[in-house]
């Protein structure tokens, strides 16, 4: 698509948005819900709190709602979208700056309809579009859990949305256009674990939020395109359906281990935003995690590797010829950990060619890992890789990535690598 084409589309988009605003101005109105005194945390049933904790972990809530310094649920964590940066809100029970003054009704409305207690519409970075199917009792458990967290007084920074999107009533139009709650009914042909996995994955865990492509208005594409791969925080979330590029099958066992440890010995370590997902899944109820693994292994049942795990290519000589600079950089910077015979390989860390990023149809994840390295996602013990962003320039990172893909990759050759490195650096800031 050429540039003027995009511009024209955008113009139309803005016009369309304005029309929506006009038409639905009245519909957009939501009343405030009266404040309540913060409920005494001791009055909640501890069993309910424990159940809520599990749900919060399955939902990975803390990822976006932590503070910039990592205080859970205190808000302030920046979520970057193409339309600006949204800061996760404070959902600790502090009455002034958190949700301490929210009644269960206000909480339910926020979760189900994406409307704050004061009646303002919430940005869909908060994935309420997925929560329509969360049961009443689960909502109650989540409420109990959040209301028993330590209250933290903290106001997150103001969102920086591009105009006119700072004007929240516009979101009512967005909702009208894109929110299509579908009832999830149990599939009698599938196991209980599968059904439970679908319940969690399609609702609270909101996996499609990252793993599905999005449209012009950041709406998730559902239906046939669901789980076709998407983007999150400058990382690519690969397809987790029949198009999964993994070169080894994602069996239930492997997925389960990956979710609980952040590492699959047949694939690689959880990186980027997936890291915090596994951090939380590692702390969730094992049966629920297993259920998720069951459902998503099923989603990937027709992926190429599920049928046949191909022999892994190692075109070392060819790649060295094709990318001599990359080969040299690899030798001095990467081989010490990744080359066969490196102590880490002898010890059983997954071999480089097993890593899904090398087989994705775009280079972004490989680039991000080189730039940012890896940090053990689940506990201090775990896969680690140093970041090379400060040590290597864009061209050098591109050389390494090109070398790696030529040596081990199975997809079509990546193009314009250097540009993508520059972009990845920018988005990672």
């Amino acid at each position: 698509m050429n540039r003027s084409g995009i511009t024209r589309k955008l113009v139309w988009a803005v016009v369309a948005l304005c029309v929506c605003v006009l038409i639905f101005a009245i519909l957009a109105y939501r009343p405030a819900i009266a404040t309540v005194t913060r409920p005494d945390p001791r009055l909640f049933d501890p069993a309910l709190v424990v159940r809520g904790a599990n749900l919060a972990r399955l939902g990975n809530c803390v990822s976006c709602h932590q503070s910039a310094s990592g205080r859970p649920y205190a808000g302030g964590y920046p979520v970057k979208t193409p339309f600006g940066t949204i800061y996760g809100s404070n959902i600790t029970p502090d009455p002034a700056t958190g949700i301490g003054a929210w009644s269960p009704t206000a909480f339910r409305r926020a979760m189900r309809e994406g409307v704050g207690r004061d009646g303002s519409h919430l940005y869909p970075a908060f994935p309420y579009t997925h929560y329509a199917n969360v049961t009443e009792s689960d909502l109650g458990a989540l409420y109990a859990f959040l209301m028993t967290r330590p209250a933290v007084r903290s106001v997150p920074p103001a969102n920086t949305m591009i105009p006119p999107l700072g004007f929240r009533p516009l979101l009512a139009g967005w909702k009208l256009l894109f929110v299509r709650p579908q009832r999830i009914t149990p599939d009698a042909n599938q196991s209980a674990a599968w059904n439970r996995g679908r319940d969690i994955g399609e609702t609270l865990a909101h996996c499609t939020a990252c793993h599905s492509p999005r449209g012009l208005f950041q709406q998730e594409k559902r239906g046939a395109q669901a789980y076709d791969g998407g983007w999150s925080g400058g990382w690519y979330a690969p397809p987790i359906n029949a198009h999964s590029p993994a070169v080894q099958a994602w069996t239930v066992e492997r997925l389960d281990a990956y979710f609980r440890t952040g590492l699959s010995t047949a694939h690689a370590a959880a990186a980027g935003p997936m890291g915090s997902v596994t951090y939380n899944l590692a702390r969730a109820a094992p049966t629920d995690v297993r259920a998720l693994a069951t459902y998503y292994a099923w989603q990937m049942r027709d992926a190429p590797a599920a049928r046949l795990e191909p022999p892994l290519p190692d075109r070392q000589a060819l790649a060295s010829q094709g990318h001599p600079d990359g080969a040299q950089l690899y030798e001095g910077a990467c081989a010490v950990c990744h080359e066969p015979g490196a102590a880490m390989m002898v010890a059983g860390r997954p071999a480089l060619p097993l890593g899904t990023p090398l087989h994705e149809d775009n280079p972004r994840d490989t680039i991000q890992i080189v730039l940012k390295g890896l940090h053990p996602p689940v506990s201090p013990r775990g896969p680690y890789m140093p970041a090379f962003a400060d040590a290597l320039d864009d061209r050098q990172v591109a050389e390494i990535v090109a070398y790696l893909q030529m040596r081990h990759g199975t997809g079509p050759a990546w193009k314009n690598l250097e540009k993508d490195v520059a972009k990845a650096r920018k988005e990672g800031e």
């Binding site: 600079d325 001095g332 910077a333 010490v336 140093p386 040590a391």
Partner: protein
């Protein structure tokens, strides 16, 4: 042939360009401040500055350095004339065995080049890639806070005051 500029002096080297900088510093240039700790980019003992950025020299091939300037702790000052980061570390007696300390100083220098008024969190995050097994952390943090003050700044919410 590779031209390498370290602490202001350029040396021409006939060495495999894949060789990590650490070995070249220690074995060819006789600079011993950067230490071998893991060779894996995990501990920070080998940290040096490349164009003011702290990097692990054990996983940086010399062929990748190009015209960028390498600064090691030898380049920060000498025993007779220590630089300000070194003076701050001496003032706080921030060492036990001292093996990790040159890497710590390089990292501190990198941080202070960026800002002399970091927050305590920023300070700890900047130092995080470097490990110390002796447990000298408290003194290392004190030394960096002192160095920030010496440069006209200071850690804004310092966990311990500079006295």
């Amino acid at each position: 042939m590779i031209d390498l500029t370290v602490n202001g002096a350029t040396t021409r080297l006939d060495i495999d360009p894949a060789t990590p900088l650490l070995y070249v510093l220690r074995d060819d240039l006789g600079l011993h401040a950067a230490k071998f700790g893991c060779g894996l980019g995990q501990c920070g003992a080998c940290t040096v500055l490349v164009d003011d950025q702290p990097v692990f020299s054990c996983v940086l091939p010399i062929g990748a350095i190009g015209t960028r300037k390498v600064t090691t702790v030898e380049g920060l000052g000498t025993a007779a004339k220590p630089g300000d980061v070194q003076r701050a570390f001496l003032h706080e007696q921030a060492a036990q065995c001292g093996y990790c300390i040159p890497g710590m100083m390089a990292r501190a220098q990198g941080l202070l080049r960026k800002t002399v008024t970091p927050t305590e969190d920023e300070l700890r995050t900047a130092m995080a890639p470097s490990l110390c097994r002796c447990g000298t952390h408290m003194r290392i943090l004190r030394a960096v806070r002192r160095a920030a003050v010496m440069r006209g700044g200071g850690v804004v919410d310092a966990a311990e005051p500079v006295t």
